[in-house]
Symmetry: C2
Subunit: 252 residues, 2 copies
Amino acid sequence: MAPDSAGTVGKALELLTCLGSFPHGASASQLAQRVDYPFSTVYRLLNTLVSTGYASFEPETKHYRLGLRVFQLSHQVANARGLNGLALPVLETLTAATGESSLLSVLDGERHLTVHKVDGPQFRITTDPGDHGPLHTTALGKTLVAFSAPAHREHLVTTLALPAQTPRSITDRATFVAEIERVRERGWATQDEENDVGMAALAVPVVAPGGRLLAALAVAAPVFRRSAQELEEFLPALRDAARQLALQLPPR
Amino acid sequence: MAPDSAGTVGKALELLTCLGSFPHGASASQLAQRVDYPFSTVYRLLNTLVSTGYASFEPETKHYRLGLRVFQLSHQVANARGLNGLALPVLETLTAATGESSLLSVLDGERHLTVHKVDGPQFRITTDPGDHGPLHTTALGKTLVAFSAPAHREHLVTTLALPAQTPRSITDRATFVAEIERVRERGWATQDEENDVGMAALAVPVVAPGGRLLAALAVAAPVFRRSAQELEEFLPALRDAARQLALQLPPR
DNA sequence: AACCAGTTTCCATTATTTGAAAGCGAGATG
DNA sequence: CATCTCGCTTTCAAATAATGGAAACTGGTT
């Protein structure tokens, strides 16, 4: 488990990932600076990425951006893992019932990855599908940690960095351990201005019939309308939606 | 203009692409066989892909599949290129108006890549977002060729392979050249059982204000309900929808 | 208990990547 | 108009990192 020893391929993939953080593309020199590899290395790697369709190159601006192959492949992932639109109606129903935004996330390494969201009628949430979020300051994250396989949970709980996102974030390990334990006991997690000032959320796990954790489902609202505690009245609706999702998502 | 895809990185990316063709994952040996690299090479590459999140590995089945990073990155592509859900309502309106399925595709190398589709109420189309299709046997493909930049169009028209998909497919180069020219003159393309037996389609280009080709938009129907010619009555609705899309999609 | 198909690890060989430096433009400056 | 400057592109000897055959390993089957 060494900190990944970057070979050539590792560099290429890191570069590709880095390309993703420039929505409007970037020049070879910008990218070289960002990933901190020698310029000519980056230049050559970019050519390879372009020739395989993973990146595209605009001659007029000399900018590189992510290519269509990424888009195409993602549909395979989405279909195979049930991250495609099929889950959306459940979130829409949930939002209709609660009047607040719904979010569906999965565990992705040491962060959570938002898969779907449906904005409430009153409020647009800043998290979008494809966005990552921390595990220790979000209702979704806490839920995903609390209900992942014991070994993995242990690993996360003890090694996760706990930087503060807001003054209310949990930054103390003992407190975090206790919080996760509480989430496990209750079966749901909250977040009260721990990730964004002014926002609260309530999340429950989506577990397959076999007991395996598939995702986490949350309702989020601005605190001026619903306090974290008031959100708890949505628990039955949330659990119901999670149950439906569990049947719909592929078991593994 | 190096057609070579040699190089370690090229192999890794080809392997990644190959993974995309196994929706339910594949074992290392299956993949090695498919891409025809030595087994140990494939094995090492797979490890790198997994450690970067581009692939995931299920220890219980020893199967590899595409990882969440692909999904995450694709949202960057989709947002930057207007391939996200924003275009969908236009297709939905079109399908509501015509009663037939709508499709939106972009040019991806020597194929077209379907970005969105909306099924008609009577019929489910077999093409899905993320699917590739040939350029010479589809209305979408012909349109994309006919309205791409002159130099590129020339290249495609003269070098594309023209394999038959059905008995009606265009397989003769001269015929194809003439067909593309006709599409350019009329401003729209049809397909009459040239790609799938029993299906016809009508497509128009989506061109940015600057004249640059952005995508192609099509209506498709089974011929027993609408002949290719009967589809032409939808031209005004199609053009209208294409105009709306042109304003909505980002200019480049 | 021996067998087999697939997976994981190892290592000497060698091809591949590397990155400084030298060409190119194209746009800015004197 | 000549010169400078900055960023993109290509080259090439040095050395690093990929290669792939083979051997150890696993676990399921005859």
